[in-house]
Point group: none
Chain length 412, copies 2
């Protein structure tokens, strides 16, 4: 069964708000195992919305519309559905009374503005979808075997109404299959390299289907399968996941909603390891990401944002001679920062990052994007050199990501 979304509202086409309703509806439909092949966004315009609705009814089984159910003149959804489906608008007396009561309760007897009367009109034959959190009810209309569902654009109303009324209607109508997904997260490997490693799986891909998504230095592999139950779906995913894991072990850091900082935090807590940070070019970003994890105070003892040479020396004991001979962005300084942080905080590990985030400060020998990171522990001290291109924030983000990855690898 195929559903299609029509988001109505001029403000959505001006880019002034992000359309989270569409994201919500798409995810809920996916969970119900209903395919969404098209989503259209269109302004509050009679002709254009009618055109899109007509097109949608021609190619999809279910059309869900959001917006245009308010009391004002540019709220046109009920009129448009009425016209396109050739169903007269009729007043629902029960709903009218509810709206009158809603206003009376808040603003006194007969307080309902005349405009709001419109919200009690529905195309004949509609099933009314109650709105538990606002004045505008929605409706569901069966028309020549196609279903049109109209919901208000206000997010909390749309969400409440979908969950309470629309999901059960759709579940009954849909085949009953559910979509089961599994996401694997990778760091330290590019999208196309990962694609090569998984080439045969990607080309075979039928059940589950596989897809790759790259963002901010990480890559996600998404497996999805339609099945009668969640358990049945997971059984189909399991062997493919096992195969992917066997090929990519070193790069795979998490599943589904897990973040790199979460898996790092879990490993540190599991092994009862404590950590001190010494950040220069990342400016506190690694500390910020790690402290996003609840309970991080159990392993993170402290961090030093050593943005000046003076701080590197005073707080971490980096030697003047090291800075003079090799510079603040060097293997040697990174090493002394990591070891200094570990020593000063008396922690099991010290993690240091020093680099040139730009846009200024680069030279031919030490260009913008050059970053050294170091991890000191009881056994030894590792140092890595990286060179990235990008803006200041991109370089900071990439450096923080790879520093977390270094920590993750070292705590295996």
């Amino acid at each position: 069964m195929r559903a299609e979304l029509i988001m109505v509202g001029t403000e959505l086409l001006l880019g002034e708000i992000v359309d989270t309703n569409a994201t919500f509806l798409a995810r809920k439909l996916a969970d119900l195992g209903i395919d969404v092949f098209y989503k259209s966004t269109v302004g509050d315009n009679l002709e254009r919305v009618s055109r899109v609705l007509l097109e949608a009814l021609g190619r999809s089984d279910i059309v869900i519309m959001s917006g245009g159910l308010g009391p004002t003149d540019d709220d046109l959804t009920r009129e448009i559905v009425s016209e396109v489906t050739k169903r007269e608008l009729v007043v629902d007396e029960g709903v009218l009374k509810e709206i009158e009561d809603w206003f009376a309760e808040r603003y006194g007897h007969s307080a309902m503005p005349a405009h709001n009367r419109k919200q009690a009109l529905f195309p004949s034959g509609s099933q009314i979808i109650p709105n538990p959190v606002g004045t505008a009810p929605g409706f569901c209309l069966d028309n020549d075997g196609k279903m049109v569902i109209a919901l208000p654009g206000v997010s909390r109303e749309l969400k409440a109404m979908f969950t309470a009324s629309v999901a059960p209607i759709l579940a009954k109508r849909s085949s009953g299959q559910v979509l089961v997904t599994r996401n694997l997260h990778f760091a330290g490997i590019g999208e196309s390299s990962l694609e090569e490693i998984l080439a045969d799986l990607l080309s075979e891909q039928a059940n589950p289907t596989l897809a790759l998504y790259a963002s901010g230095g990480t890559v996600r592999v998404r497996m999805a399968v339609k099945a009668d139950t969640e358990t049945a779906g997971l059984e189909l995913i399991e062997p493919v996941e096992r195969e992917i894991r066997s090929r990519t072990g070193d790069y795979l850091y998490g599943i589904d909603g897990e973040t790199l900082e979460q898996v790092v935090a879990e490993r540190l807590l599991d092994k009862r390891l404590t950590l001190a940070l010494a950040e220069s070019c990342t400016g506190g970003l690694v500390g910020h990401r790690l402290t996003n994890v609840p309970g991080s105070s159990a392993f993170l003892n402290r961090g030093y944002v050593v943005y000046s040479n003076q701080a590197k020396m005073e707080d971490l004991g980096v030697k003047q001679a090291t800075l003079d001979s090799f510079g603040a962005v060097s293997e040697q300084t990174a090493r002394e920062m990591a070891e200094g942080a570990r020593l000063r905080a008396k922690t099991d590990m010290g993690l240091a990052i020093t680099g040139i985030a730009g846009p200024g400060g680069g030279t031919a020998v030490k260009p913008v994007g050059l970053v050294y990171m170091s991890l000191a522990s009881s056994g030894d001290t590792i140092v890595q050199r990286h060179l990235w291109k990008g803006t200041r924030e991109q370089i900071k983000n990439r450096a923080a990501l790879m520093a977390l990855r270094l920590l993750w690898q070292a705590t295996k």
Copy 2:
């Protein structure tokens, strides 16, 4: 002139990501005075994307496509544009060499995967849109008086390419009026309070129109006007802006693209003031935000992420007795942290934040969301107490925002 957006990507129809590209493009087109009447989202499917593109070319002057330019088999945008516009795909040798070089630079000689060769193919007659931050260039094609522009789906690439190349192309092509906007940013005041202060201006609003947007503790007032020239538009905006400023002086911190950290950085640089940070619950976030500003090393000497009591005492000289009597989250500890950071770093100012970000760690007397912040300077030390509701990340973000606002107020 009418533009239309086609967002390509199955993941967009699964609700797994919020489509911020569409919001970005819509806003930029509005700024250029170009109307957007339709936006369609469609999966990675040859037939369905072709159908939507054909429909779009029938009703709009400019079609901007996002996504489907990657190296994998389900990246179909170039093939679809080629087919719909009947323009053969041809290799651009210059682009091919750039992609080969990109891989060689990162992964060594001949490292380019065979797949990526596809990214050098363009419908004949295309103008290539360079991609300064990734491997996939876009293209712009004039076809029977209609323009098709194809950009990658990766947000930072799409944004960089639109700003650098597409906006100038569209500005040249668009004939009529321009949309002139001005955004005023506020911190420390809620949306509804600001709405009350500006009630008459909001109800009058015709030219310019006014709108309020709240997000993450800040509120933005957007003024917009269509005019023949930017100068003419700004002249209409200017008196309204002056009136708003006269009513809201203390809360307004920036205009248009300015961030709070940028205006704080400017003030510190102007006054040649140096700063040290002492962060507990924000975990490095204030340091991260301040170091996002290029040149921040000129005022930020260092930061301490004192996540343990041990660090608060050892690094900042917070007294054991203070922690014992008042606790780590207290006015007294915040004060000693700020003064300790300033003293130790020998800076003009010391800024400290200590609080309970949750979800654990709260008590009846000191609930989750309780945050103290303190600013020490040569004259005196200020302490503020705040109590917010929200998730761990929301409380961290709000605390960092208000700490930056404290700094901004103190450097007037």
